[in-house]
Amino acid sequence: MNWVGRRLPRTEDPPLLRGEGRYVPDIALGARAVRFLRSPVASGRIVSLRAPAGLPPGALFVTAADMPEARGIRPALRRFEYRAVEQPILPRERVHFMGQPIALIAAESAELAEDLLEQVELEIEAEDPVVGLEAALAPGAPAVHALAPNNVIVEGAIRPDGFADAMAGAVHVVEFAFRSRRQNATPLEGRGGVAEYDRATGRLRLAASCQMPHMLRSGICEVLGLPEADLQVVAPDVGGGFGQKMSLFPEYPALVWLARRYRGRFAWIEDRYENLIASAHSRDQKHILRAGFNAQGQMVALEADILADIGAFSCYPTTCAVEPLMALAEYPGPYKIPSYSVRARGVLTHSCPAAPYRGVSRPVITFGIERLMDRAAAAIGLDPVEIRRRNLHDVFPAKSPTGFTLDEGSYIEALDEAARHLDIPAFREAQAEARRGGRLLGLGLAVFNERTGYGTPAFAARSMEIVPGYEVVDIAMTPTGEVEARIGASPHGQGLRTTLAQIIADRLGIDPLAVRIIHGDTDRTPYGWGTFASRSLVVGGGACQIAADRLAAKLRRGAARLLQCGEEEVVLRDGLAVTGAGASIPLREVARIVHQRSELLADEVGFNLAESGSYDPPGTFSNACHGCIVEVERETGAVRILRYLVVEDAGRIINPMIADGQVRGGVAQGIANALLEEIHYAPDGNCLSATLADYIPPTCAEIPEIEIHHLETISSATLTGAKGLGEGGTIGAPAALCNAISDALAPFGVDIAEFPATPPRILALIRGRRAVWEAA
């Protein structure tokens, strides 16, 4: 029986469907409630901070002065151009963004804590804030942190020899400057934690809505100077993360400090307002691209200047370099670009810190290069499909200009497949017909590759002080024959309990329901890196396969002894160890004997059925082509998606149902990025996007059916053949949609150079302009 490749319903689901999931707010019942006093201004000096008069018994008021032993959060990058700005848990003197925690109140209930917050006497001398990239880089701009006098916290550049000559040799030069606006990942459950001191053992336990429990433990222990053995971090059911729950936020060390200092149980459950203004933002970028093409429409040189507004502090552990330097490293994407010159800068402003959000910079760079391709196609007189065909990698493994090895993919095949399904010639006729009736239809494509499942060497190349990458899986069969696999990845909706069980079940010849995946608990799982960057199924899955194979060997050895045959004669299937001669023994019987009749098997297998596997792959590139057809309403600027399709190549698909779910969910977030969601700041640094009525995630009325077509290129870059696909949907959608909108607006001689492409932006583009057919 092959379990890999089957649409197995998730074992995670039944409790969640009965309302029996256990999320952090569910664990928080009965704990003392913690609320944070947050800065009302973007920049200022704390003049005085006093506790509410008449703090009721049992209530606590805590400021930086109460926790002198707590260090700040110090994300570090081993690059000389990186300014190691430190974020205090609670600030002593200055505030750097609106929403920054300043002090906390703990009380019997959240309502009471909020009442008391209003009575805190806080005096802040507000100062002129630096808001937005332009202000931060203006000559004479105030410095957000003295460590970075020009507000550049990190800078990288690649200036290859011969670039100027390559560009000078171009027949066509195409430029594209654009702006990507600020977003919030908006998991439906916000951040939150429950910290508890166990008086019996003297240990601390933090249940947190997080993606990286081990990393969170390391970060908190570093800040508070605690031994890691004394802190257990648990990620219970987690209501979405999308990158936002990777980072160490000051609220978590504060919570653990409270539990330790007051030997009690404290819970902080953030509300949506806090999540929107003070968790983590992303994608606030401005790029200027210049590309040279030869007469055949092949790109000969690409120059990029990248600016990322990273907010007021760097994030831990990835650092704020994650956006600008990923854009720098991955811009060429799926294209053959002989000469690539780039500069990328991370810029400090008085706004919420930026941190990874699904796809990180790739939705932005894919928007850039794919919009550039369409501009180039128009300038050179080529069809959008044809110009991409002429530039995509078609020989693998290929080398990117920044040194990546692109393993085997299906870049051109995916493009052709998408074009075929879209039936572009038929669409062009429909488009012309619609234009005659005054309707604006457009078609857009986005081709990209997605770097996934990368291990230690890839992260080490980023010069991070903390280098993620590998995964370790500890596997064991119990005396009653179930398999427990303890993983370092930390799923929160990705269905890994099911997919990893499918992988293990195939290697051991057992039912996936006999496999228990244990995750999200630093006491019960090996040190690992959690779930992010489309890595868990590739890296954790590879480690599961290695561990399961070792366990299988042990089981075969034991069974061979019991069945009196050679080890090589034993096959594991259907829960049995079977010999070629037809003799068999249930695996659970082997397991029972190993544990409870060890005198029979100890010589062959020892005293347990425990094994460990670790996997640290170099990384693999998935690839995809997104295609869509939109209608733009001329009177309102509204965009309606008439068709959306994805041709995805993520190698071997372990569970097609879950894979498609990842793609569709990703595309929905990409559609939000393309059309709807934007965090706004007022010029005084006040975050205006404070509710879900201001920051607008899409509903099912905005998300169309998404067609998915799979290609399965099995490359040798991963052990299971699976490549990651968690982020791809989000990466491709802004480019595909904005290309389609630009195609629709082409008769007006305008295109999209800022996203989200909201109705006001679209109306502003065409205001006062006439379509070509009206111009005469």
């Binding site: 689901d13 309502e111 059911d237 879900l692």
Partner: protein
């Protein structure tokens, strides 16, 4: 702050609780009744994660006070499955159609869809999208949620391909 006694039924069981008048129904259900299946996503009435049925109507329990539920009959996600945990047809359809990922929005969607499937008029595509667009899901992209409710409606003979004229 003074607490008041409130009596209502939840999933058929009478509950007598003491709550502050300002405590929302959602918090009352979660904290006073221990029914944590009802989740809070925004606490300002946009996301719909906290949807429960109050006297048969889908209700954002974050926008209603616990004291307003005096005498009401409330249904929450905990009341959907059989006592032995067997999923009902709607829950099963969510499972089979992969209508959830992180599961946080799921109870709200289940209660909204429960109301939809119990109405006397059969459900069609337009009505389905219209009603379900009142709740947010951040993981699934909605397609599988719609598919799940469609499948349940078919199984329960509540589906029609087009709206009655």
């Amino acid at each position: 702050m003074n607490k008041r006694e409130v009596v209502f039924t939840v999933n058929g069981e009478t509950r007598r609780v003491l709550v502050e008048p300002r405590r929302t129904l959602a918090d009352t259900l979660r904290e006073e009744c221990g029914l944590t299946g009802t989740h809070l996503g925004c606490e300002h009435g946009v996301c719909g994660a906290c949807t429960v049925l109050v006297d048969g109507q889908p209700t954002r329990s974050c926008l209603m006070f616990g004291v307003q539920a005096e005498g009401a009959s409330i249904r929450t996600v905990e009341g959907l499955a059989a006592p032995d945990g067997t999923l009902n047809p709607l829950q099963r359809a969510f499972w089979e159609n992969h209508g959830l990922q992180c599961g946080y929005c799921t109870p709200g969607f289940l209660m909204l869809a429960t109301w939809l499937l119990e109405r006397p008029t059969p459900l069609d595509e337009e009505e389905l999208r219209h009603v379900l667009s009142s709740n947010l899901c951040r993981c699934t992209g909605y397609q599988n949620i719609l598919a799940a409710v469609r499948a349940a409606a078919r199984e329960l003979d509540r589906w029609t391909e087009s709206a009655p004229a």
